[in-house]
């Protein structure tokens, strides 16, 4: 379609040269950008606005000021929930931040063997729904758990379980940021330190740590937000330990008290916004750190240090692998703990809550739509923002809207969608309860990371290409098709696979939006656990994880084929 569009544009220009081909080309692309801006406005900004206004209304829609907040503050369990949430988030953040720093240090600053294997193992949790570690912990440390004695009489149901589970699923997120923070370093600094006779300890504190400072702060904020807004893990393993996120879930799902849910979710937005602001601020500071004169650094051999880090990496990897292995094993045991023979009984999802196998196929369908539609939309829009001339205001607006979802926890977005799309007077309310709303919500939820990935990749291409093709009177869409898209193919694949995996595993927003014919696998895990079918819940979580692994494999295969065709120029 875009082909004919540009052809028409070319035709018009030959007839009426004074209008200028370039200008018409620009306007048609500008039109697409306007559609993009409107799309994000409708899918992100308006729902959030509706949520904000709901939080100051009662159930009949009358304005009640801060009454919902007042009621929430006066709930006796509130103080408990807030302090529980805060302490869980703080402890998890401390553990994950330090472990991920050490792991990233081991990968980028030591000479331990098997770095690639460790890297693969350590990011495995990202392929599983966050409920998987919680379920696995029940089998490891629950009352019938195989390692129950390790807890020395403490119960896994409660803070201990929540912290371990949260650390498991947030670790890969932290590790990836840390690796980026530690990846680039200036060898000249280490050389100077050595020349000045600084001890290794001193070098660490004066060179390594300051360079990673912003990465560490960034990780801390991200993990804090992820943990405080997650309700999957506390729901499964929290026992009677209430946290804010499960409070919202209880208010909305349990008592259908949407206004109260809106009020609590506004409170949950606060840490997220703080994180977001800090992150923006840090990124601005960070960019000045590395200059073009930096020299890449190769870690020296330090036998003792390397051994210690190898041990640590083995420990973390073993922990991750054993949590996953336990979930797989538990899903195959016929009747835990009295009949340990293996069978596929727990995979008979059709006899359980959650929608059965249909839910699984729905998830695959939903994730595929999300990956395909999301990638096309996001990449093309990012291209327009990065490479089109003019439209400064539109671009600025677009960028703002595209960054916004990063600050919105899934739970909050899901609620906002209920309010916005289920309103009887909304012309779009036809999509409520359909597959469409699930796809739209998931794309919006994970928009920011994809947008930034695309933008980063596009910025690496010299703007000269557009300038040259414009002077050669090649329509910009052709330049996009022949230059930008092929060059950015790795980023495009990354975006598609990121969207697919997240669509498969996410629960937080979609739990509020699925309907009887759009049950989802990740939500089914939660529902089966609620109904007490824990082994089938583990089985479904394992299915999701396997599917994501297959998706990653396809990503890798596609990548290596496409890269041969499109990335050849990168080699000399």
């Amino acid at each position: 379609m875009s082909q004919t569009m540009t052809n028409k544009a070319t035709l018009t220009t030959t007839k009426r040269p004074w209008l200028g081909r370039r200008s018409l080309d620009e306007w048609s692309l500008g039109g697409v950008l306007i559609i993009g801006v409107l799309g994000l406005f409708i899918c992100v900004v308006l729902p959030l606005y509706t949520l904000l206004s709901k939080s100051v209304q009662n159930s009949d829609g009358q304005f009640v000021g801060l009454a919902n907040f007042a009621q929430f503050v006066s709930t006796p369990s509130l103080f408990n929930s807030v302090s529980n949430s805060l302490s869980i988030a703080l402890i998890s953040t401390t553990i994950v931040t330090s472990l991920s720093f050490l792991a990233a240090y081991a990968i980028s600053r030591t000479r331990i063997p098997l770095k690639n294997t460790f890297r693969t193992l350590l990011v495995l949790p990202i392929l599983a729904p966050s409920l998987l570690p919680a379920i696995s912990l029940v089998y490891l440390f629950g009352n019938q758990g195989i390692l129950k004695e390790l807890l020395m009489g403490e119960s896994i149901y409660g803070p201990i379980g929540i912290i371990i589970g949260s650390c498991f699923w947030t670790f890969p997120h932290a590790l990836m940021i840390m690796l980026t923070a530690l990846a680039n370093t200036d060898a000249r600094l280490y050389e100077s330190a050595e020349a000045l006779g600084a001890s290794p300890m001193r070098t660490f504190f004066t060179v390594t740590l300051p360079a990673a400072k912003y990465g560490i702060i960034s990780v801390a904020f991200v993990i804090f937000t992820l943990v405080i807004t997650d309700f999957g893990v506390p729901k499964v393993i929290g026992g009677q330990f209430n946290v804010l996120a499960t409070d919202i879930y209880k208010q909305v799902i349990g008592q259908q008290n949407f206004e109260m849910g809106a009020a609590v979710s506004i409170i949950l937005l606060l840490p997220a916004i703080l994180t977001f602001a800090t992150d923006r601020w840090l990124q601005r500071r960070q960019s000045a750190l590395l200059t073009s004169k930096a020299v890449p650094w190769t870690p020296p051999a330090r036998p003792l240090v390397d051994k210690v880090f190898l041990g640590l990496m083995c420990f973390i990897s073993a922990f991750i692998v054993s949590i996953i292995a336990m979930a797989v094993y538990a899903s195959l045991v016929t009747f835990w703990p009295y009949n340990l023979s293996l069978s596929l009984k727990n995979y008979n999802f059709d006899l359980m809550d959650g929608g059965g196998w249909a839910a699984y196929w729905n998830s695959i369908q939903m994730a595929s739509y999300t990956a395909i539609i999301g990638t096309i939309f996001i990449f093309f829009q990012s291209y327009l923002v990065a490479k089109m001339a003019g439209f400064a205001v539109l671009k600025w607006l677009f960028h703002l809207f595209a960054i916004l979802p990063l600050a919105v926890p899934g739970l909050v977005l899901g609620l906002a969608y209920i309010f916005f799309f289920n309103a009887p007077d909304n012309p779009l309310n036809g999509i409520y309860g359909t597959m469409t709303i699930l796809v739209v919500c998931t794309i919006s939820h994970f928009y920011t990371v994809c947008h930034l990935t695309a933008t980063t990749a596009l910025k690496q291409i010299d703007a000269e290409f557009e300038a040259v093709s414009a002077s050669l009177k090649v329509p910009q869409i052709l330049t996009f098709w022949r230059v930008s898209l092929p060059v950015c193919m790795p980023a495009v694949l990354d975006i598609a696979s990121y969207l697919f995996v997240n669509a498969m595993t996410t629960v937080s927003a979609l739990v509020f939006l699925y309907s009887y014919n759009t049950n989802l696998a990740s939500v089914a895990v939660l529902n089966m656990d609620e109904a007490g079918d824990i082994a089938p819940a583990a089985a479904m979580a394992v299915m999701i994880m396997l599917t994501c692994m297959v998706a990653r494999l396809i990503h890798w295969l596609l990548g290596s084929v496409l890269l041969k065709h499109t990335q050849h120029w990168r080699q000399r």
């Binding site: 408990n80 209430n242 008592q255 949407f258 009747f335």
Partner: protein, 342 residues
């Protein structure tokens, strides 16, 4: 080669659009809200479809409290056409909100009076009774040295501290029938005192009424307060369970059917309501429940006591429905914030 496959494929290719439109016109889809156990949903729909293949049931299933809250929240813009299998106490609540269509199913007069809305314009029809039961895991209890309880009062014995799991009454219908039966059996003040004492022994309150028994079945807890249907099923699956029917009497509630007022598929809804009160349906309910609405139908169910009906308390449903909100609020204030780490 006969001509049949050709015709088939031709009609398939040419008429895909038309067929789907025609099929759409021929089948009515009913959105049915339910709290029936998930494993039974397929069976219920299939049996109904044997007689009425032209009506498709789209289930929305959750625990009793959730379905009730969902129905109430959608009051302005109801999504459900029929409720098939929800606690009668919940339906009475909806009746007070004027959300139910008055309808007397065909077999209405044959049902036992206990199981129907006896008002002039009845809105709900009972299906079966589900009653409280305690799942007692013999293996774990022996390990922990826990004696087998025989009464509700036994459960307050400090020896059980942390070993009892019960459903949260705000989300679970089973949880609510327990609470309501204790308040009726022991009287209000004594009832709350009883729950205070019981609360000290509770390990967790669960979302659903089946989970306590499933947890007991897998040894995750020694004692689960649940309901007889689930207990019998778990025992049948081979779990080391003893099912205890407390001597004071069993709380119970009815699963019932009702049509949502304002549905645009009233005819289909009535057909379903008729079928749900039929003898065939009652025989189907009896496969899992010992006490059903149509007298003279019920066969004994494995692992249920023979005198199940005699064990059930005199349940004042009107009281239980009218006070549901107040009781749940009080319950939440007292026990829901149990969050101190043990």
């Amino acid at each position: 080669m006969t001509i049949k496959p050709l015709i088939k494929s031709l009609s398939a290719i040419a008429g895909i659009g038309m067929v789907s439109i025609a099929a759409h016109a021929a089948t009515t889809e009913l959105t049915v809200y339910s709290a029936v156990e998930a494993e039974d949903l397929k069976k219920y729909a299939a049996r109904f479809n044997q007689d009425h293949p032209d009506i498709k049931i789209n289930w929305v299933r959750d625990s009793t409290g959730i379905v009730t809250a969902k129905l109430l929240a959608e009051k302005a813009n109801p999504q459900a056409d029929v409720v098939w299998g929800l606690a009668a106490t919940s339906l009475m609540l909806l009746k007070n909100e004027n959300m139910l269509e008055s309808y007397k199913p065909k077999n209405y007069d044959q049902l036992s009076p206990k199981f129907k809305d006896t008002s002039e314009n009845p809105v709900w029809t009972g299906m079966d009774a589900w009653m409280a039961a305690i799942c007692y895991n013999t293996v774990e209890a022996e390990k922990l040295g826990l004696p087998k309880p025989t009464s509700w009062q036994d459960l307050t014995n400090p020896v059980y501290k942390g070993h009892i799991v019960m459903p949260n009454p705000s989300s679970s219908g089973t949880g609510y029938l327990d609470v309501s039966s204790w308040l009726q059996l022991f009287g209000e003040d004594k009832g709350w005192e009883y729950m205070d004492a019981l609360h000290n022994n509770i390990g967790t309150y669960t979302h659903s009424g089946s989970k306590p028994c499933k947890l007991a079945a897998s040894g995750e807890t020694a004692i689960g307060i649940s309901f007889a249907f689930r207990a019998a099923k778990s025992k049948k699956e081979g779990a080391p369970l003893d099912i205890v029917f407390p001597t004071e009497g069993l709380g119970w509630d009815m699963e019932a059917t009702a049509i949502i007022k304002g549905t645009d598929k009233l005819e289909a809804a009535k057909i379903l309501a008729d079928w749900a009160a039929s003898q065939k349906a009652n025989e189907m309910y009896n496969e899992g429940y010992a006490v059903v609405a149509m007298p003279g139908i019920a066969q004994p169910v494995e692992y249920f006591p023979a005198n199940a009906e005699a064990l059930m308390i005199e349940n004042d449903f009107a009281w239980s429905a009218a006070n549901r909100d107040a009781i749940l609020t009080k319950w939440q204030q007292r026990y829901d914030s149990k969050s101190e780490p043990k």
